[in-house]
């Protein structure tokens, strides 16, 4: 898909992820034992042959830049196009953006209008999925509509606040649309992915921002659709899509990957998820280890027992330690006889021997990067 560029917003739900995004963007949150959330977004685009991706990030972007680098893991280290970071310092006047439209308008001249691509895919790194964007693009063209929004059933539950929710009629046409709304189960949730012509987006962003409208979903898509000036197509995605928009969802969805169905939906043939390579040795399992239903990355040394947990790279689990229903990020060390249940251990956490920490599924114990307990 040489004719499409990608635009990724890296900081979308930072504020609802609490301490996990203190020092990183939402996009660089670790996921699935060896990934960062943005790996899925970038891989989906790269797998569809997109060779020009801009990443808009506003703060805390050091870890993201370190992870993505020049984009070579996604074949984006190119002379023409390739990968570009857009930080607040990349454009003159406005330092932070109040919404996606404002960001798009601000970077329109310097970045977006330069590329030759006719189409643009907007995405963020909040929804984890493996999606064939070629198919979405084909569906968009076939629909003849101005915009395609990718939607997912089963997310709306009357409680979860959705950025954009749609209701479809029996023909799959959008019959109703709402923003910032805890939509009922009968609605489909937007996955934050939109395809449209780039010139339409840039023109609309400029018009909206000149009238002090800066929110993409509310002030462009919903408003223009309501007034009959924008036709919107919904593409329903049928595979697994995990919305990581809060700490609780993040915890639940990290453990979800232990489930075979979820795993096999996220790691499918032809939709390889790429990530930054780190040269770690294979995981060593000790003489008396007992590891059940776990995801384990390279570099771990597991001597204790674990159940229903995710181990990122280079975790040391000492003899007699027990870890149940936990997310353990890279380079954590868990001392002899320690007991952990329902915890999220950010990177480099050290749990001393004999320590006992027990949270719940709804309220996991969260330890900050580098904490020593």
């Amino acid at each position: 898909m040489k004719n499409v560029m990608g635009l990724v917003f890296a900081n979308i739900y930072d504020s609802s992820l609490g301490q996990l995004t203190n020092k990183r963007t939402q996009a660089s949150l670790p996921y699935g034992g060896r990934y960062r959330q943005i790996d899925f977004t970038l891989s989906n685009m790269s797998n569809a042959g997109i060779r020009h991706i801009d990443i808009v990030t506003q703060y805390n972007f050091q870890s993201l830049m370190n992870h993505v680098g020049s984009g070579e893991e996604w074949d984006l280290e190119l002379e023409d196009g390739g990968l570009e970071f857009i930080t607040p310092y990349s454009v003159g006047q406005s330092n932070t953006f109040r919404g996606k439209l404002e960001a798009i308008a601000a970077i329109s001249d310097a970045y977006l209008s330069r590329g030759k691509e006719e189409y643009i895919i907007l995405a963020d790194a909040a929804v984890i999925c493996a999606i064939n964007l070629d198919e979405v693009m084909d569906a968009h063209i076939a629909s003849g509509k101005d915009v395609t929004v990718v939607v997912k059933a089963g997310i709306a539950n009357g409680k979860k606040q959705l950025d954009l929710a749609v209701r479809l009629d029996e023909n799959g046409e959008i019959s109703d649309m709402a923003v910032d709304y805890a939509a009922p189960e009968s609605c489909l949730a937007s996955m934050g992915m939109f395809i449209l012509r780039k010139d339409l987006l840039l023109r609309s962003a400029a018009e909206c921002v000149s009238r002090n409208r800066y929110r993409l979903e509310r002030e462009f898509i919903l408003r223009e659709w309501n007034e009959g000036r924008l036709s919107v197509n919904a593409y329903e995605f049928h595979n697994v899509a995990l919305f990581n928009e809060s700490t609780e969802e993040y915890f639940r969805n990290n453990l979800a990957i232990i489930d075979r169905k979820v795993r096999h939906s996220l790691y499918r043939d032809g939709l390889t998820i790429y990530t930054k390579v780190r040269d770690q040795v294979p995981c060593y399992y000790g003489e008396n280890s007992q590891i059940d239903d776990c995801i384990v990355a390279d570099g771990c040394v597991l001597l204790g027992s674990a159940y229903n947990s995710v181990f990122f790279r280079s975790v040391k689990l000492s003899t007699g330690a027990s870890v149940r229903n936990c997310v353990v990020m890279s380079k954590c060390e868990i001392g002899i006889g320690a007991q952990l249940e329902y915890c999220i251990l950010d990177k480099d956490v050290k749990i001393n021997a004999g320590v006992k920490l027990i949270g719940t599924m709804e309220h996991p114990v969260i330890l900050n990067r580098g904490d020593v307990v």
Binding site: E73, D279, C283, Y284, Y285, I291, D293, C294, I295, V296
Partner: protein, 395 residues
Amino acid sequence: MNFQKKRCVAMLLAGGQGSRLLVLTENTAKPAVPFGGKYRIIDFPLSNCVNSGIDTVGILTQYQPLELNEYIGNGQPWGLNRSHGGVQILPPYARSKKSEWYKGTANAIYQNMAFIERYDPDNVLILSGDHIYRMDYAKMIRYHEEHDSDVTIAVRQVPIEEASRFGIMNTNPDGSIYEFEEKPKQPKSNNASMGIYVFKWSILKQFLIDDEENPNSDNDFGKNVIPAILQAGHKMFAYDFEGYWKDVGTISSLWEANMDLLGTDPEFNLYGDGTAPIFARNYALPASYIDTGSKNINCLIAEGCEIYGLVRHSVVSTGCRMGKDAVVEDSVIMPNTVIEEGVIIRNAIVGEGCVIRRGAVIGGAFHDGEKRQIAVIGKDHVIEVNQVVKPGEVI
């Protein structure tokens, strides 16, 4: 083109057929044989080069080079994708006058003298592509320079009763070599050559040219070039290396070297002290899944695996799948192999990309006092349902 001078260029001999590795090298050059769950043998000398600050490496290939060429690629996984230097694959090629295969280790270097000359190095480091070890070549080169040595040969102490299997360096108290004996019947010392040489390029170049002109020469470093340099009275020193080193040229040594990675205090620690990592080409694979019905005891399991069975004292490589009630003991499973339910594998090496169907039995238990027999399954084989592969059998 005017190339910047390099202090040392490494030449890695990767052309050997490795016929003692049987089916494992049927379609694969020995240095490209998988090792340790996610590596290939060549990763060890290559990573040693990088960790020693050597950024110019020529890899001499000849036998089944395709897989090795693809694996090395532009050298990026080892940080050897340099604009000046970096890694270069050097196959034999047709020259204007004549074209010929590499006749021996020395001839392989002789044929690539032009490559070395481009960098105008002081020293040339000659390495083998079939050894598992971690070594700081910079220390050896420093020793070589401090002694103003013409040739420095890395040696390790072997038990004297095994010395007759090696090239033995007999040295003076100052470390200088006065005699070299290839596989001596009555060894005078136990300083075994590791096949790692540092030559002054000016000396090596002259002797390579002389050796080429000698029709009776086998064009081999150990047999011809080194004895000739010694006889001519040049300064030759032995450099003592302490630490793990294993030639993995046979099935049993390859199996042993894999087993040496196991344990909480392994014979060979892949991680080391963390300052000299072993680099490898990594493939995009998810973290492994370990099922509740599985049991993993004293083993290495690399990424991209799904493990439902029992793994004991074994190395399971990237991208393997292992079904329920399957047992893998004292074995090496190479990448991307599928082991179906109820399969039993003991004392075996199973090659890359194999499918072992339900209920098959490969190899067998080994009792004290018996000679351990390693069953070997070559790359991309399918072992049928309930098929039995006997201990020591090679398929």
